[in-house]
Amino acid sequence: MSSETAMATGQRTRGLAPFLRSQMRNIAPFLTLIFLSGFFAFASPSFATLDNLGNILTQVSVTGIIAVGLTFVILCAEIDLSIASIANVTGIAVAYFTLQESYVNIANIPLPGAVAIILSLLLCALLGLVNALGLTVIGIPSFIMTLAMMQIAAGISALLVRGQIAYKVPSLITTLGSGSIGGIPWIVIVAAIMLLAGHLVLTYTRFGRYVYMVGGNREAAEYSGLNVKLILGAVMVISAVCAGIGGMLGVAHFGSAQQNEFDTYLLDSIAAVVVGGTSLFGGRGGIGNTIVGLFVLGVLNNGLDHVNIDSFLKILIRGLILLAALVINVYAQRLREKAAE
């Protein structure tokens, strides 16, 4: 018993340094954000303005909506590479079900706005369900399954628009995507609500706990009698639906629906989640981390436009920042495992 008591007191008197080390995954992204903001504020007078904060928020909104679902997936130690394609096909679908101007040369099916929205949501949920079944029932690794889905969704998009561009979407979507209320863009509000909802689900519901437990130790979750496949399937559907909502609002935000419109959002969403400090090994992190990650990316993208820098160099800088975040992510996991031993 004596060794156990020693261990207990050891735990209580562990001090600040080990605590900080175990919290590194939360602290590091935050420090990065403060550093980047400080740097750009110092380097450019136009960066630290209220107007520009609004710009940053608007710029990260679509990524934020998509990243909500992806956070669930990565918390389960899975990945979803089909989010950008599913966003694209859902955005195209909602336009496909809306009456377009006569000069748009797409053989589409105009339906009432509400029906168009519901059908589009069903479409992305269905694609997510296919991901879920492939992962859980057939046992295809999510990396490969969603890679296939990426192609499938891109294929459906191509068939629907056939190289053309559609412009009209239901008025509700137009409002939420490009309108604003009291000076605040609706899309920012939607992103905030979805992030908040994601946070509440992960923190306060039984399902959220299961997500963390499945990600933390899948074997143990199964030995605890959890329906691991059901939980994994659910997060894949959540991910696809979040991507779909992001896609619909994105189409309204950009003002058009076309092929390959969302390609950059795959990397951006994964980057936001991982840069924020959610563990790629599952079980650690959450929406709070994703929000910090979104701001890091948003500040970086926006800030680089404010400083006088070779625009081709920006791509390289983004890549390097991502790499640094990955190193921290893996390193933080190791530190934590050490602390737990």
């Binding site: 207990a8 519901t205 039984r206 933390g216 199964e222 030995y223 605890s224 079980g283 737990a340 031993e341």
Partner: protein, 500 residues
């Protein structure tokens, strides 16, 4: 047999301790060329530690170590390999996705001048080597597609034909069928004639007596007997292994223990003719309310597979389960849990969340009973607190990360997660393995208390003490089949070992 001959390997006064606990105390051991030397002893008696010293796995120890009469000190398994010593470990260490030939030549494939692998030569030579061993198999077949027993034979063949002069086999027969065992023995005898020295560790004393020339018995880190195999018997070896009188404080279970009259209470679980490829054959039994059913057997006898079938983690090839008379085929562990079955596997790592606090570990299996949508953390902590107090988990802090607890306390947490809403059937695998006496007794008392509360409990263990200390009725599982039932009769460690 070895008068005048120089031992190929000689150990003198070997002592090895792990963190203050002596695993070996002053052991002398000599191995002669052309000898098959059997090693027996209970789990933890020191056999494996000694063999790992010989194979260069453990490099820190005191005592003399001579090969061919010369002092040696291995710094790694590579050194041992260079000295002609090879070991086949109990767990398979093959590359299932490579071909048979690649596995046979793992690490030293024949190459041409350009460094390219000579596939045809490799396949031919692998085929020849295996044929010598009586294994007729396509050298280019993927190893993982072959039955486990054959894979094990191929691994053994690889080591036997690697040119090693000293070969250590740790439990080589547990996954083999009787004809495969026979094939192995034939090969071992042939190698003996060629002058190879072989150490053969096994729980199967019949096998040891059948194939070895000399047999050495270990108990509590000491060598307690060394005799010619022809001059001893199974009974005598078992007696030497477990000792008489029991020097330890613990109950040694060497004397007869009377099992109670079966109560005839309600049958909670009925297993009928469960079979699983090579692991289980027609296993049938029932577990009753208020009774602890012990299932004893050696490592690899099919216990692990059986427990997984009961909890829906594995599906049997054939056979049925019934819970309280209702036939069930569990599609998932979740289904088994809903039907009232709970499992504590032998490895705590498999069922606990080390980076999560104690209370989340305890509440995970009952969340759906205390909350529908939203979590109730206060209630979770209350429940956990009650379990922690009841099971005397130390330190009694439910918010502490589980990884901070000692092994014994983690095992109690593993039990605690099933006890708030007790299941109908609790399946415990190795519930006291690796625990100190105090924690062991705590667990024993918890299980006894659960029995009086009317649970049906199944305890599966490879340690006779565990089964004897808990069970009201004992089944013996041997190579996947139930071979003996002890009930309402005297039982002891000897009798169990004899039956297995």
């Amino acid at each position: 047999m070895s008068v005048g001959q120089q031992p190929i390997l000689e150990l003198q006064g070997i002592t090895k301790s792990f963190g203050g606990v002596e695993a070996l105390r002053g052991v002398d051991f000599a191995l002669y060329p052309g000898e098959i030397h059997g090693l027996v002893g209970e789990n933890g008696a020191g056999k494996s530690t000694l063999m790992k010293i010989i194979a260069g796995v453990h490099t820190e120890f005191s005592g003399r170590f001579l090969v061919d009469g010369r002092d040696m000190h291995f710094r790694s398994a590579r050194d041992a390999h260079a000295a002609g010593i090879a070991m086949v470990h109990q767990e398979l260490s093959v590359a299932p996705d490579l071909t048979v030939a690649e596995n046979v030549f793992l690490g030293n494939q024949p190459t041409n001048a350009l460094g390219l692998v000579q596939w045809r030569r490799m396949a031919r030579e692998a085929g020849e080597q295996l044929a010598r061993f009586g294994i007729d198999v396509d050298p280019m077949a993927r190893l993982g597609d072959l039955p486990i027993g054959l894979q094990q034979l191929i691994e053994i063949a690889r080591v036997l034909f690697s040119g090693a002069r000293i070969v250590i086999l740790d439990e080589p027969t547990s996954a083999l069928s009787p004809p495969e065992v026979e094939r192995l023995f034939t090969t071992l005898r042939r190698l003996r004639e060629e002058g190879t020295a072989i150490v053969f560790i096994s729980h199967f004393i019949e096998d040891i007596l059948l194939v070895s020339d000399t047999v050495t018995v270990f108990r509590n880190g000491r060598k307690v007997a060394e005799t010619a195999s022809a001059a001893t018997s199974k009974g005598a070896l078992i007696e030497a292994m477990i000792g008489r009188g029991g020097e330890a404080l613990e109950h040694s279970y060497t004397d007869d223990l009377m099992l109670p009259q079966p109560s005839g209470s309600k049958v909670v679980l009925e297993a009928d003719q469960l079979s699983l490829s090579r692991s289980l054959q027609d296993v049938s039994f029932e577990a009753r309310a208020g009774e602890v059913l012990g299932i004893y057997g050696f490592m690899g006898c099919g216990q692990q597979e059986l427990s997984r079938i009961l909890f829906g983690k594995l599906k049997p090839d054939s056979g049925t389960l019934a819970v309280e008379g209702v036939p069930k085929i569990f599609a998932s562990t979740a289904a088994a849990r809903r039907a009232g079955v709970a499992l504590v596997p032998e490895s705590r790592r498999d069922m606990l969340f080390h980076q999560e606090p104690v209370y989340k570990n305890i509440s995970i299996s009952i969340l759906d009973r205390i909350s529908s949508l939203l979590l109730k953390p206060a209630q979770e902590r209350d429940i956990a607190k009650r379990q922690v107090d009841q099971l005397q988990i130390r330190p009694p802090v439910v918010g502490l990360d589980l990884g901070m607890l000692s092994g014994g306390n983690q095992q109690k947490v593993a039990l605690a997660k099933w006890l708030t809403y007790p299941p109908k059937l609790l399946v415990l695998c190795e519930p006291t393995r690796g625990m100190d006496v105090g924690a062991k007794n705590d667990v024993i008392n918890i299980v006894r208390d659960l029995r009086t509360r009317g649970l049906a409990i199944i305890v599966l263990s490879t340690e006779p003490e565990t089964v004897l200390s808990l069970a009201d009725r004992i089944l013996v599982l041997k190579r996947g089949a139930l071979v003996r039932e002890f009930k309402n009769e005297p039982v002891s460690k000897d009798r169990l070992l004899e039956a297995a």
